[in-house]
């Protein structure tokens, strides 16, 4: 199931909220767990089975690693085995399809599609696997007590609120909230605000950017500079608003059930440098990588930075354009961090922001185009080489008929506009608070309108 769907908003969520808030405290986690399993099973019963296997396996791993050992390095060995099996499971489920494709191309036909033969990686597999890894590594380190209650561990992995698109929550940060959280109308309201904002980002901004992107690409053969930038921007910002929208929805839903989840995005497009951009993007993943991978490889070394970036690129898909993407940002990060106090990393002010934006958007071209050849052709158009002029009719048409969208998108990229609105509403009294509430309500209805009547663009990060 996904958050931006009628079935979630107007069937699953209201029923769950009512049930959750009526049952006694001891049953609340059970309700959440069952609901989460149902939520996940909605994507396919088969995929739920994979996740349950992973949870059971890691539950046993936890007990095994924490158990008494005769020799000192036995525990390390146990950890190693558990890590390897987890990573293998992740690898097979994610990339098994590709392997099958190359060995038995005849299998992967339209007739066999939809049932594992056309291999769809289970939604959220990276997220729950990473979280399980966080658990067993923390148990090994002695940072947390082993979880003897399988239901609790299951809830950590499967909580529907953070399963589809994160945030990646470290076990140590989560475990206290399992049994020690309280709800309140204020928290619920806070959650509703986050949730509606996130929903609007996805359904109103991201999906319409997706439509705008398709419009531009319809004339991809003869793009002007304007057209190419509009297309690249539409793509990049679609990813941003979809991903950060999902993260906001996750945080919001968390609040509705009393959970305090970490923020995943901090206006990355307001960053002054490439390094800062990635620090503000998918923050929870960055924290996870820093805690569990960096330390292994040697923090801050050029090798570890490049290696991790290369892996990140490949994680999105095994093809050359992702490799180039990874290496591109790897190099920029190395340069950025070496010159931390120098000119390249932190060109001050607006100039720095614009320069970083250009660098980041250039990077996204390698996601936008499936092959490096097309990506470089696209880049040539963006920078005026072999382009159909600076501005062409079609580019102007797409811009003008999407003007409202473009303006709102640009305003939403940086915190300025939002903070301004917050100031206005924080000053007033009850009546302004009511107006604020009604505005959120109208936004919610507008989202429902786009959900019911608009084109739906499945969030591409769900595949990862």
């Amino acid at each position: 199931m996904i958050f931006d769907s009628i079935i979630f908003l107007f069937a699953f969520l209201p029923v769950l909220l009512i049930v959750y808030h009526t049952v006694p405290v001891q049953l609340k986690n059970g309700v959440l767990l069952l609901a989460s399993l149902f939520f996940y099973a909605w994507g396919g019963l088969l995929y739920l089975c994979f996740m349950i296997v992973s949870i059971i396996f890691n539950y046993i791993c936890g007990l095994w690693i924490a158990g008494k050992a005769k020799k000192r390095h036995t525990q390390r060995l146990r950890l190693f085995v558990c890590l390897v099996v987890n990573i293998l499971m992740l690898g097979i489920l994610k990339y098994g399809g590709l392997l099958l494709d190359s060995l038995y191309p005849a299998w992967n036909t339209a007739e066999n599609a939809g049932f594992g033969m056309e291999w769809l990686a289970p939604v959220g597999i990276t997220f729950y696997t990473f979280q399980m890894l966080s658990y067993i590594i923390d148990v090994y380190r002695g940072k947390v007590k082993v979880q003897k209650n399988p239901a609790d561990l299951a809830l950590y992995a499967a909580l529907f609120v953070k399963l589809p698109a994160g945030p990646v929550v470290k076990y140590s940060a989560f475990v206290k909230q399992l049994h020690d959280r309280k709800g309140s109308w204020v928290k619920f309201g806070e959650g509703a605000m986050f949730f509606i904002r996130g929903l609007a980002k996805k359904v109103i901004l991201a999906d319409n950017l997706g439509r705008m992107f398709e419009e531009i690409m319809a004339e991809a053969g003869q793009m002007s500079v304007l057209g190419a930038w509009l297309g690249c921007g539409a793509f990049a910002f679609q990813v941003y608003f979809a991903f950060s929208g999902y993260s906001d929805m996750a945080v919001g839903l968390g609040w509705m059930f009393g959970f305090d989840l970490p923020k995943n995005f901090d206006y990355p497009y307001g960053a002054g440098s490439v390094v800062e951009f990635w620090r503000r993007w998918h923050i929870s993943l960055g924290a996870w990588v820093e805690e569990y991978v960096y330390r292994l490889l040697g923090k801050g070394s050029v090798f570890s930075i490049l290696f991790i970036w290369l892996l990140t690129g490949l994680w999105h898909g095994i093809s050359w354009n992702y490799v180039i993407w990874g290496i591109y940002f790897g190099i920029l990060t190395v340069i950025g961090m070496s010159f931390m106090r120098g000119s390249l990393a932190g060109i001050p002010g607006v100039l720095g922001r614009i320069f970083s934006m250009v660098l980041i958007l250039t990077g996204w071209v390698f996601f936008l185009c499936p092959t490096p050849g097309e990506a470089f052709a696209y880049l040539r158009a963006m920078f005026g080489i072999e382009a159909n002029g600076l501005i062409d009719h079609y580019g102007r048409y797409v811009l003008m008929t999407n003007l409202g969208l473009v303006i709102i998108v640009l305003l939403s990229l940086t915190p300025g506009a939002y903070r301004g609105l917050e100031k206005i509403f924080n000053r007033g009294g009850r009546s302004r608070a009511l107006v604020n509430g009604i505005m959120y309500g109208m936004l919610f209805v507008l989202c429902a309108a786009y959900l019911v009547a608009g084109d739906h663009y499945p969030f591409l990060y769900l595949r990862f």
């Binding site: 079935i7 309201g189 003008m400 008929t401 003007l403 309500g441």
Partner: protein, 400 residues
């Protein structure tokens, strides 16, 4: 003292308390509104009643999916169920209006392939030609014409409103160059068929109501002007044509472009038919719908005036083959190969032909050569709307 001044005069501790109170109010307000909206919409959606077809949107709506074990395993049943709930959502039409309104505010002027133009005009986008298909069609027509050297073959392509009324397109809109497309078709078939130029005729009259505002077709007036030009090219004996006067068969036509896009769903326009002045001048005819096995004495199907697609009043819509026999004083017989654009032009041709065999390759299963052999056809006319012609595959099938 003003409220602001009063606020500034408070001590910082007090102000922080006030801020906290405001924070609480805001969140409580949003909580209540959110729960309220979600609750209301969820309850409203519980109201039973499924629709299989949406008149407003002119498409079939998804119905409850069948459950299969495999479908549950791989999630396909659930995906269909998601679409089902979206299609059957109570209040869907209202929400659709909200979205269209929001889009218009944001500058969007095109939905579902339809432009929202000026003066309440909706204009269908000009289709880019399917090159392979188009070349095949052109080839076959050329060969067909070659097989019947003694019989004149005419080709008439009707430009879309977006081409002729391009001043009505929204600002900055860019469409395919249909004039160029037509020109290249004309040149390819210059030796085999006689081209009937409709574009320049329509352009001369573009300030008149020659296209419907909510439908892709031309009005009967537009068809009339084209017919006058056609009569010249085909050298029809205009003595035979009675004087005509327009008569509105409906004033509440809301066409297919409205349904497809959601724009101007409230706009009502008239459909005119041209009837001969004086009852006696009316040509008697029998129209036989060959595949359905029905016969009528008129080319107008008034039963289609109830409901959405009133353009179907002409000939009852599109059929594989309609065989029209008239009491016209002549032995000329016409084979008319067409799409829906021709339907409102056919009535103008009845005084000139003893028989008109109307074939729509979109529905016709047979082939045209058989018709040519079995009947004494004296002329052949291909009459298509531009968009259909450049993408149609039925024509090649019938000319095989």
């Amino acid at each position: 003292m003003g409220k602001r001044q009063r606020q500034k005069q408070k001590r910082p501790g007090e102000r922080r308390k006030e801020d906290k109170k405001v924070k609480i109010y805001r969140r409580r307000a949003v909580a209540v509104v959110f729960a309220g909206v979600m609750g209301v919409l969820s309850l409203v959606d519980l109201i039973p009643g499924e629709k299989a077809f949406s008149q407003r949107e002119d498409r079939e709506l998804t119905l409850r999916p069948e459950i299969s074990f495999k479908g549950i395993l791989d999630g396909s049943v659930m995906r269909q169920y998601d679409v089902y709930r979206i299609d059957q959502f109570t209040g869907r039409s209202l929400l659709r209006l909200v979205k269209t309104g929001a889009d218009l505010l944001a500058g969007k002027r095109k939905e579902g392939g339809v432009y929202k133009g000026k003066d309440d005009y909706l204009l269908e986008e000009i289709a880019a030609p399917d090159e392979e298909q188009l070349n095949q069609s052109i080839e076959r027509i050329g060969e067909f014409s070659g097989r019947y050297e003694k019989i004149p073959v005419y080709l008439m392509l009707v430009p879309g409103a977006a081409n002729v009324l391009d001043a009505k397109l929204p600002d900055f809109a860019v469409t395919e160059d249909q004039r160029q497309i037509f020109e290249s078709i004309r040149q390819s078939l210059a030796d085999s068929v006689r081209w009937v130029d409709v574009s320049s005729v329509l352009e001369k009259h573009m300030k008149e109501e020659i296209y419907y505002r909510t439908d892709r077709h031309w009005t009967s007036l537009g068809a009339y002007y084209a017919y006058q030009n056609l009569a010249e090219v085909m050298e029809l004996d205009m003595e035979k044509a009675p004087e005509l006067e327009p008569c509105a068969v409906t004033n509440s036509f809301n066409g297919m472009l409205s349904s497809a896009s959601g724009y101007n769903t409230g706009y009502a326009e008239p459909i005119f038919i041209y009837t001969p002045k004086g009852k006696d001048a009316e040509p008697k005819l029998v129209a036989e719908y060959v595949e359905e096995g029905e016969k009528t004495a008129t080319l107008y199907d008034r039963s289609k005036l109830i409901g959405k697609d009133e353009y179907k009043v002409f000939l009852g819509g599109d059929h594989g083959m309609v065989d029209i026999r008239t009491t016209a004083d002549t032995t000329d017989r016409l084979l008319l190969v067409k799409d829906s654009y021709a339907n409102c032009l056919i009535p103008f041709l009845t005084p000139f032909y003893r028989e008109i065999i109307v074939v729509d390759p979109g529905y016709y299963e047979g082939d045209l050569d058989t018709i040519m052999e079995e009947n004494k056809i004296s002329s052949v006319l291909f009459l298509y709307g531009g968009n259909t012609f450049v993408q149609d595959s039925g024509l090649t099938r019938c000319l095989d």
